[in-house]
Every structure is written in structure tokens, then in C-alpha cells.
């Protein structure tokens, strides 16, 4: 077994709102090896973003990590002193957010804000910091990086801004990047470019990546492993190729079948009935059972996330059988 770079165990992040306790992340476990890409998949409200934010210690009140452990290279990150966490963030772990316009400071030139990010962790001169910023811009495929340093965020297109955000994340050669839906706001052709760059960078730099997304096709092209989240918990976990080819959880299967392209054009898409439950009023037991066609009385008790085959775990009392899987894919 290779040493894990990141280990998340029993993570629970709750938000204590006036309406009640929102259990946004309720017992999440996963591990990520060095140089691997993990796809964290789920719909809105599944807890995928909160999981990412928890890893970086970005949960603000009324939210709080109430339980669990997040270890990076064996070092515990939960309840780490703010100064120690700051020393890690941006240096060992970096984040790329969904909206690059929110990441960048509109009144500072790209070079200035990148140099600040460099000097926050490295005792370099302004000149050396700018040189490193320029190299980072070059690495993410921004043409003429030298000149672009003087430009302001509004002078970049959405795709270029996201490249700048990725370049900033790369400044200190982090061991782990958490990317939260970084291509969702971008056009197809630009998304293709960013995915292409990310794959190249993870290969070249041996970088570990957590890619948070709702798009299964993106995961299929990018991730080594994947976790599918539903209502704050991981419902299926395993190598991406296996989860996509042989989904065990009815929810994963439903998601895969509801993508247009799985049936003939104009045909009826398989749909998951209902909508995601409110996290304030989660029923006991399996959160998916109200929408599930395989649910039985047993589902009133929460199933464990347990291995079915090697490295392929599912949280379900009635996982999809091998017979039906072949039928569903036919």
C-alpha cells in the first residue's frame, strides 16, 4: 500500500443555523495517494464543496467541523492553530474556486497579486517573486506571460482568469490542489483547454488533485478514483473507471442513465424521481430511499459504506446486481 498524501476520516461539518443544524458533511472518509486525481461528484447540496472547504480550513461560522480527522502527510489539519494552517494553505494545499472573478482582486495587477502570494510563503525579492509568477503563468499556457503580469483581471477572459487562478495555486508547488467546479462556468471549448492543461500538469508535476464536479463526463476523463456524494455522505467510492462502468449504488446508476446520450435522441431519459432532500429534515436511514426504486424496509437503517469488490465500496442495502448492470448498459 502506498503512503497516502491525504486521509479524511469520519469528517462531519455542520452548520448551526437558526432553522436548525444542517449536516452538510456527515461522516466522510476517503484517502488520496500522491500524484492521483480524485473526482468528488455530487449534485447541489450533496456536501462536495463543503468537504473541499473543510480540507482547507475555510469553514466559517455558523459552520464548524464537529468531528473527524483530516491528515496531510500524517499531520492533523482539524483544529490546527490558525497560524499553522496559514503556513500550509497556499504552500502545501491550494484551492481553485468555481468563479475566477471572485478569486482575483480586481484593483491589483495580476503580477502584483501573484507576487504577494509568492512572498507570503517564500522570502523572495519582488523581482524574484515576479519571475516565479511569470513562470507559473507560462506553465498554465498563458501566451506572453511577461506582458500579462501587468494586466488587470478584467482584461482577461473567463477561461484565462481561471488559468491565472490555477497558476496562483501552482506558485508554491503544492502537494494537493482542491478544485471546486473550476470549469462549470466556462464554455465547452475553454473547459476542454483547462482539462487538457490540468491533466498535463498532474502528470508532469506529480501533483495530487481533488476535482469537485457534478459532471460525470469530466470525471471520466480526468480522475483515477471517485467518490459519489449524496446528502452529506459518500454513497459510492472506487476507481473511476469501475464506478462508471459498473455503478453499484442506485443513485450513481440513476445519474449515469439520466445523461443525454445514453438513450436514442428524442427517447425518454431515465430519470430519478423527486428531488434532493433538505439537509435540515433528513429522514433516518438511507437518504436516497424516498427516490429509490429498490428501497425496502431495511433502508430505514443507514447502510454502511462497505466494500463489494476490491477497492469498490457502496453504501446500500440493495446494491445494483451484476445481472442488471449488464442489462442497464446494453
Amino acid at each position: 500500500m502506498t503512503a497516502k498524501l491525504l486521509e479524511v476520516r469520519g469528517l462531519k461539518t455542520y452548520f448551526f443555523t437558526r432553522a436548525g443544524v444542517v449536516k452538510a458533511v456527515d461522516g466522510v472518509d476517503f484517502a488520496l495517494a500522491r500524484g492521483k486525481v480524485l473526482g468528488l461528484v455530487g449534485e447541489s447540496g450533496s456536501g462536495k464543496t463543503v468537504t473541499g472547504f473543510s480540507i482547507l480550513g475555510l469553514i466559517d461560522p455558523p459552520g464548524r467541523i464537529v468531528e473527524g480527522s483530516i491528515k496531510l502527510n500524517g499531520q492533523e489539519l482539524v483544529n490546527l492553530a490558525p497560524a499553522a494552517l496559514r503556513a500550509l494553505r497556499g504552500r502545501k494545499i491550494a484551492m481553485v474556486f468555481q468563479d475566477p472573478a471572485m478569486t482575483l482582486n480586481p484593483v491589483l495587477s495580476i503580477g502584483t497579486q501573484m507576487a504577494m502570494a509568492v512572498r507570503a510563503h517564500a522570502g523572495l525579492s519582488k523581482r524574484a517573486a515576479l519571475a516565479r509568477a511569470r513562470d507559473a503563468l507560462g506553465r498554465v499556457g498563458i501566451p506572453s506571460p511577461e506582458e500579462r503580469l501587468a494586466a488587470f483581471p478584467h482584461q482577461f477572459s473567463g477561461g484565462m482568469r481561471q488559468r491565472v487562478a490555477i497558476a496562483i495555486a501552482l506558485l508554491h508547488d503544492p502537494e494537493l490542489i482542491v478544485a471546486d467546479e473550476p470549469t462549470t462556468a466556462l464554455d465547452v471549448s475553454i473547459q476542454g483547454q483547462i482539462l487538457f492543461e490540468m491533466r498535463r500538469l498532474t502528470r508532469e508535476l506529480g501533483l495530487s488533485l481533488i476535482w469537485i464536479t457534478h459532471d460525470l463526463a469530466v470525471v471520466s476523463g480526468l480522475a483515477d478514483d471517485m467518490c459519489v456524494m449524496y446528502a452529506g455522505r459518500i454513497v459510492e467510492r472506487g476507481p473511476a473507471s469501475r464506478v462508471l462502468a459498473q455503478p453499484l449504488h442506485p443513485y450513481t446508476r440513476g445519474l449515469l442513465q439520466s445523461v443525454p446520450g445514453m438513450v436514442a435522441p428524442g427517447g425518454e431519459l431515465a430519470q430519478i424521481p423527486g428531488s434532493t432532500p433538505s439537509l435540515l429534515r433528513l429522514p433516518p436511514g438511507c437518504a436516497f430511499r424516498a427516490r429509490c426504486d429498490r428501497a425496502s424496509a431495511a433502508c430505514a437503517a443507514m447502510p454502511d459504506l462497505s466494500p463489494r469488490t476490491t477497492e469498490h465500496d457502496v453504501r446500500c442495502h440493495h446494491p445494483v446486481g451484476l445481472d442488471e448492470r449488464t442489462e442497464a448498459l446494453a
Binding site: 449534485e43 464554455d187 473547459q191 435522441p265 431519459l269 424521481p273 428531488s275
Partner: protein
Amino acid sequence: MSSGLLEIDGVSKRFARALTLGERIAGRLGADVETREVRAVERVTLDVAPGETLGLVGESGCGKTTLGRIAAGILPPTSGVIRLAGRPVMSDGSHPRKLTTKVQTVFQDPFASLNPRMRVGEIIAEGPLVHGLVTPAETDRYVAEWLSRVGLDREYARRYPHQFSGGQRQRIAIARALAMQPDLLICDEPVASLDVSIQAQILNLFLRLRRELGLTCLFISHDLGVVRHVSDRVAIMYLGRIVELGPTADIYRDPRHPYTRALLDSVPVLARDGGKRDFKPIEGELPSPLSPPAGCHFHPRCPHAFERCRREAPMLASVAPGRVAACHLNDATASSAA
């Protein structure tokens, strides 16, 4: 010759920035004042046959939403005419008005398109009441009927939009559009803001209603998978121009414009065999519509561009029965084959 229910005839739309006072004075004094214009839509001609769904595909800024709004009679075109069943959708003159209620739109964002201060019943009934499609006495029954057709409980008429999820709101928006009994429905990215599992519900609803009501649709989307699923024909737009148009299956199988091909190639594929496919990104970025490249707008990003593409904008020309594409390469292959 046209048998289209909707005819978009040579439509262009330019947006000009209003000049400042200083620039207007300078202009009066004979200075050369730069007027910056965005040519959002350039000489687009399209027909949508009765009962047909035409998909309109392009990236942000290509003008697809503007074209949809012009077709819906929301925006007046700078030049050109939109006709529905042979009659203009908008009046002429300096203050053009929409002349028909037979075109209705479903917008992208159901959080922005529903008035938060109106009850769902009022939202659906407002248009039909104003236009006399329903009498006040019949309104409740009419609203209940539309709610159940879009798969919502009739009790929901008394609730407000904020009490619904995104998917439910989009159902309300569809009910509002259809309650006007339109001949043509314009769908502007109707599922873009929805989760995958909800998206499938709305697409199924759309396909069912289209079948039941015999609707004609202009379906605008950037999602090539969704467009393939719902459209009979597809038009691909790039920087204000239609670059390719034809039956959906043909275009997806054998694109005849390099942009269409590049767009199809850059969509991540759900690889069920587990194999990782290499993404093939298009080079470069969408140029600014303020200063589009001369000649073919796509030539700076096109791997096959040659001298003529830089000078001369290609016209839409027939490449196969029922298919047109605007690319000089098709001329070259045609002439070399001849």
C-alpha cells in the same frame, strides 16, 4: 418558397455604446469619433418548420441568446424581419412592439424569471387573463390544468416561487409559457442551471409536452448532448454568424465546419469502458465581438485556415441535401472533386 412557421429573414443586431457628451461634441466639430459596435447577430436566415425543434448551439457571446430574443419579439432587430406563419412578429417604426402572443419563451434562470412577489397561480394566469384566453371565472381551473400538465400539484397555485426548487420553478416557467397557447416556444438554456437528475426530468417533460401539443421549438443551448437529444435540426453559431446548419444526426456524425468539429471534439466523453480519452482542445479563445477577425471569424483558431479565409468571409453554401456550412474548405473539396 418558405414553409417555415418561424422565418428569421436576414436578421442582424448591433449594439452600439452610447456616446458621451464630449464625444458627441467632438463629433459635431468634425472629429473622427470611434463608434464601438458589437455585431451580436449578423445576417442570420433560418426557418423552423411546423412541429420541428431547431437547436441553436454556440458558446457564450456568440449571439444565440440575442437571436432567441429577437425571434421572441423581445428585442427588435437592427435589420431583417422575423415572421411567424407569414406575419411579422414585431411592428416597424421607431418604437417596435411585439404583435403576437403566439411566441413564448422559457428562460435560463428560473430564479430570475419568476416574480417573487406573485403567487404561482397569478404568474401562470396573468398573460392568459390580459389577452382574453381565459375568463376570470375559469382561471383557477385553467391554472390547475396547466400545473398538473407540467407535473406539479394543483395546490401549488397558492404558493410563492421561493418555496420551490430549481426544477420545480422551471416547470412553473414552462407552464406560464404554455398557458399562453403559443405556436412557437423559445427555450433559452432551459436546463443549464439544473442538476443532472433534475435536468433529465425537465427534458422528459419538454419532450412529452412537445409531442402532446405539437409544439414548434427553437432550443438554445451550449450543451451539445442536450441539443442532440431534443433537436431535429441544429444550427451552429460562431460570433454572430450561423456557420453550419443541418439535420442533427448528420451534423454530429460528420461535421462540415472546422468549428463544429472542434466543438464536438472538446466535449468530454463519458467513457464507460473506463479508458481515459485525451481531450482535444480548440486552440485560442473566442475573439472579442467588438473587433471580430476579418474574413472567416474562425480563421485564427482554425487548424485548416489558408489565405482566402483571412480575406473573405465564407457564405453558407449547400454541402449536402438539407445541409449548409460556411467554410471555404467545402469549396476546395468540391472543386477538387469536380
